[in-house]
């Protein structure tokens, strides 16, 4: 079933204040909404009762100690795992029973904690794989090299180069992606995810392994991408400077439960968060 066949629901009502949607997004329907989302592996509940709603141009962060279930939530959103509880609404459409490919086509793009580029393929081919669904020609057209094949391929190539130039990577288009320096590989992963034309971009530890200068640049780029493409971005990150610097809303996860949600200031002074990270203070 193609994603388009799913029933569109009515736009949701403005979110209550507890959902911390930035003011500019208040009267728009959320791009993603999770209701009581959860997954059990055998008897172990990895994530439970996860509720969020994100505005269409919101930058949110997901933090928490190692093993708290952050990446699991990304895997649930992209249907790498099928949730055992709850509902995910993407632009008001229930993604139940969708495959990862269909969710990607419906508008969720993502990067990976450990880089998963197609290392044997060139930089531009990686981006073209991201554009796959938007390139419009059939098998016959490509075998018989009809004019449509060339026009579509040319269009796709131009689009790919345009996306690469956001990160000043257009001149590396024909390099093998596996031989790029680490930072460039991370950037290419973001470009490839953007190529899938997402309305929600999931970044899994985008700053991992970067030096402070590169992180600074990445922060600017994330905000720039949001402004350019007008999309929502949800990121997992351990670098507090990045999270506190650009996220408008932060969710804190511990043992698969959302223990706090709020603006960076609220999160920094939240006793439950401090406890999760540093342990309980000894009573005098």
């Amino acid at each position: 079933m193609s994603p388009k066949e799913y029933i569109k629901r009515e736009p949701l009502m403005p979110q209550p204040a507890t959902n911390f949607i930035p003011e500019r997004d208040i009267h728009k329907s959320p791009v993603i909404e999770c209701r009581n989302l959860g997954i059990d592996f055998g008897g172990l509940s990895a994530v439970s009762n996860f509720n969020i709603a994100m505005g269409p141009t919101e930058i949110s962060g997901l933090i928490g100690p190692n093993g708290a279930g952050k990446t699991t939530i990304f895997n649930l959103l992209t249907k790498v795992y099928q949730p055992t509880h709850g509902t995910i609404l993407l632009n008001g459409v229930d993604t139940h029973n969708m495959t990862p490919a269909q969710v990607s086509q419906a508008g969720i793009g993502r990067t990976f904690q450990n880089i998963r580029l197609f290392k044997d393929m060139s930089v531009i081919d990686n981006v073209l794989v991201g554009l796959h669904y938007q390139i419009d020609y059939g098998l016959g057209t490509s075998i018989f090299r009809l004019p449509r094949f060339f026009s579509e391929e040319k269009k796709a190539r131009e689009k790919a180069l345009e996306l690469l130039s956001i990160f000043d990577m257009a001149d590396m288009a024909d390099t093998k992606s596996g031989s790029l320096p680490y930072g460039a590989q991370r950037r290419l992963e973001i470009v490839r995810a953007l190529a899938t034309d997402p309305c929600l971009l999931l970044l899994d530890e985008p700053a991992a392994g970067m030096n402070p200068m590169e992180t600074e640049e990445l922060m600017e780029n994330i905000v720039r991408i949001r402004d350019m493409f007008q999309i929502a971005i949800l990121l997992i990150e351990h670098d507090m400077k990045l999270v506190m610097g650009i996220c408008e809303v932060i969710g804190v996860l511990n043992f698969g439960q959302l223990i706090a949600k709020g603006t960076p200031d609220e999160i920094q002074s939240n006793p439950a968060v401090i406890e999760a990270y540093l342990g309980k203070q000894k009573e005098e």
């Binding site: 992209t78 495959t99 490919a101 990607s104 197609f118 044997d120 073209l128 796959h132 490509s142 899938t196």
Partner: protein
């Protein structure tokens, strides 16, 4: 001069192996499975072409096209019914299933067409081109020519079209490809279709050069082509091409200069030596297992 003659017939045999090996290597690269039924798809293709030409007296071109069509559909059906339900099963289960499908096809052919060998008329005339003492038959010319064309078309397809790129992406990282919006099932299905279509062409060429057609016709060339694919580095398309050609030439020289009976033993001996020295095959990539 006889050396050149042996070389040419080795190239011809090698081209057939190469075309079959392409099917093995593509399927392995993308679905990470060994499709041992591939050899029997060759046999089915040959029978289809045989009946089209002999029984219905259709022109050879139509016969070949029909064989390609039937095998393409057969490949897709085999994948859908036998392999797709095992997508997440251990590889041993898939391997056994593939052997099962192979026997199923052979025995179906036995029931349908009996074990009597059929004499396959070459799809091109019996003539040959003579250059000095070197004589090259039309079948040889056609076989080598088709092999080169297939190689060029396939390489172009894989490198320049969006389906080709999707295939490369799936073969490298199925999970990541899926998350980029690529329908993995459709891509695997297409790979089987292409591989089986090529098998039909190989079958017709094989039977044009060696005109006996039986239900077991496909199994030995199938195994040899699989060897060729491993020889060249399984998963690699140029590897299959190189492995196939080399295997054909080695086999023919072994037959000519050493012993006809031992030729197969020599071929597999060479494979063993190559794998001892280069475990990933000639053009295969060394996979570093993460510890």
């Amino acid at each position: 001069m006889s050396f050149l003659n042996y070389l040419v017939s080795g190239l011809s045999l090698g081209s057939i192996y190469a075309i079959i090996a392409l099917g093995y290597t593509m399927v392995y690269g993308i679905a990470k499975m060994l499709n041992f039924a591939h050899g029997d798809v060759i046999m089915v293709g040959s029978y289809v072409c045989f009946f089209a030409m002999m029984r219905f007296e259709l022109p050879p071109v139509i016969g070949v096209l029909l064989a390609v069509l039937v095998c393409t559909i057969l490949g897709i059906i085999i994948e859908k019914l036998a392999y797709k339900p095992l997508r997440s099963a251990p590889s041993l289960a898939v391997l056994i299933t593939a052997i099962g499908v192979s026997y199923f096809l052979q025995n179906s052919a036995l029931l349908l067409w009996t074990s009597n060998p059929k004499v396959f008329n070459s799809i091109v005339g019996k003539g040959s081109v003579n250059i000095g003492a070197l004589s090259i038959s039309y079948v040889t010319l056609l076989t080598v020519g088709i092999c080169v064309v297939i190689m060029i078309v396939l390489t172009t397809f894989i490198n320049t079209t969006k389906m080709g790129k999707a295939m490369r992406a799936v073969s490298e990282d199925k999970g990541a490809a899926q998350l980029m919006g690529i329908d993995v099932n459709k891509t695997i299905s297409m790979t089987f279709a292409i591989g089986s279509g090529l098998a039909a062409i190989a079958g017709v060429l094989l039977c044009s050069a060696y005109p006996t057609l039986m239900p077991t016709t496909g199994s030995m060339p199938g195994i040899k082509a699989f060897t060729a694919a491993v020889f060249g580095g399984i998963g690699s398309i140029p590897g299959a091409f190189l492995g196939g050609i080399l295997l054909g030439v080695i086999e023919n020289f072994a037959k000519a200069y050493i012993s006809t009976e031992f030729s197969d033993a020599i071929v597999f001996g060479v494979l063993i030596i190559v794998l001892l020295v280069k475990p990933a095959g000639l053009l295969g990539k060394q996979v570093n297992e993460k510890v």
